[in-house]
Amino acid sequence: MSERSHTAPKPEGEYFESSRFTGLSSILGLTAIVALALCVVGAFLNPHQFSYSWLFAFAFFFTLCAGCFFWTIVHHATDSDWSVVVRRQLENIGVLLVVLAILFVPILLLRRHLYSWMDIPPGVEHSLDAKRAYLNWSFFLIRAVVFLGFFLCAALVLRRLSVNQDKDGNPRFTILMRKVAFISLPMFALCLTFGAFDWLMSLNYHWFSTMFGVYIFAGAAGSSMSLLVLVITALRRAGYLNGVITLEHYHIMGKWMLAFTIFWAYIGFGQYMLIWYANIPEETQFFITRNTESWWALSTLLVVGRFFISFPILLMQSVKKEPRRLCMVAGWIVCMQMLDMYIIVLPALHGTGVHVSVWDLLSLIAIGATLGFVYLRIVPRTSLFPVRDPRLIESLNLVN
């Protein structure tokens, strides 16, 4: 049985009182400043290691935010009703892509440490020369601008339209957002896929996998849904959204986490098995590095943790309908996403075994604290849920 809200939500919406959280906000702000300053030191002290650490942290947070953006456009494109009450938080996390676009700049500056193909002159490597039409610096830069530009424009436009609808509830905004979402869906697929090719796959220019973009997407969608569960629960703990988001919404979010746990495993295994079975040297090297030496332990942990542990737990209805338990699984999945990005990025540098560096941690803290700080600035500006969405009532009375 679901907990039913007996009090109707206030028509003016619920507002996050930032004055209650000035302490948290200033801690995050201070941490961000200190960590970013230390990262600048790292970039000069040990640019090689630092560039990989930064890319790892960037990829982790980028997939989380891009995933939330994905759920926003899916919500509009499918005209779904359940997600209306959680949509504002998806939009808030989605616009953090603006911050991430700025934090992408160090990757461009440190590109020569990350992407060896940028340094190799033409005529040296035939396999690289065959890819020059795609793998060259100016095209790389143009693509990065297009991808990030698309993400931040679409995220900003969708949030702006949604916030405008809070004022008068004009259904015109719903239709406009749906149109933006229709254009954004194919654009999202292309930008995420080729972004993954450019920023992660080209770390080793010999290697290629046509499934890599889908693999990154599968991890992003599942982990961002988990992040949403964590954010919603944190807001409920702070006393917000309690009459708005019910266990029925948790149940649906849990189902999506389960679905994308399966999808991640399906895509990840599909990618692995085809490469393993075909046994072509330029394809297998990616997995040989990651399945040997001490990387083997982390790869095993990823497969077991992301799928074999999460899957049976998420099968249970009692977990999906209980916020505390679902949060534990959600936190675990977010950690596994972090591990996933670590295993994709760092073996490109430390091919002989795991070598944890202090810059890995500092980059994570720097980007995480920055995003957390900006998030706490964005949340109080609008109601915590879209108060005049035409489908709000349906979402409040959700039964599934």
């Binding site: 399906y266 692995y272 098995m273 393993w276 079975y277 209805q317 039964v399």
Partner: protein, 185 residues
Amino acid sequence: MMRTPAGHKVYAMAAEYPSAAALYEAAKHVRDAGFKRWDVYSPFPIHGMDDAMGLGKSWLSGWVLFGGVTGLLTAALVEFGPSSILYQLDVHGKPWNFWTVPAFFPIMFELTVLFGAFAAFFSMLGMNGLPRWYHPMFNWERFIRVSNDGFFLAIESRDPRFTENGVRELLERSGGEHITIVHED
């Protein structure tokens, strides 16, 4: 077994309701009166009806899990049996011990899904008592409207709380119309 004066077996006492909302409210009445053997009939699914009827969780999922695990074990048996034990085959120099398991995953996955789907389908039929050639409710000529615009509720005579007068009164109080006894055959 209750019988009518004419000697027919009694299947249920049934009533018709003017709308889905009325049927929904009536279901809550009957649920709160403590009946277990009863059902509602409508032309389309009504959201929240399972709560209004007080239905618990369906354990169809248990059978699906059983089917899925059976499928997984079947796949493991038919793959490891021949390829690792009965006739070990060297393909591309790949191992034939346990570590060749990635090559077997697709079949394991497919059979898990296939057996799970079979279990879901056949358990659904079984738990609903299907296939069934004829339902006693069709002995009531008004019931033909159930696939068009009729909303019906029937309390079956095998329910331990079933008494003709008590049930009739309950159905009347819940807003039922055309209350009648439905014959078993």
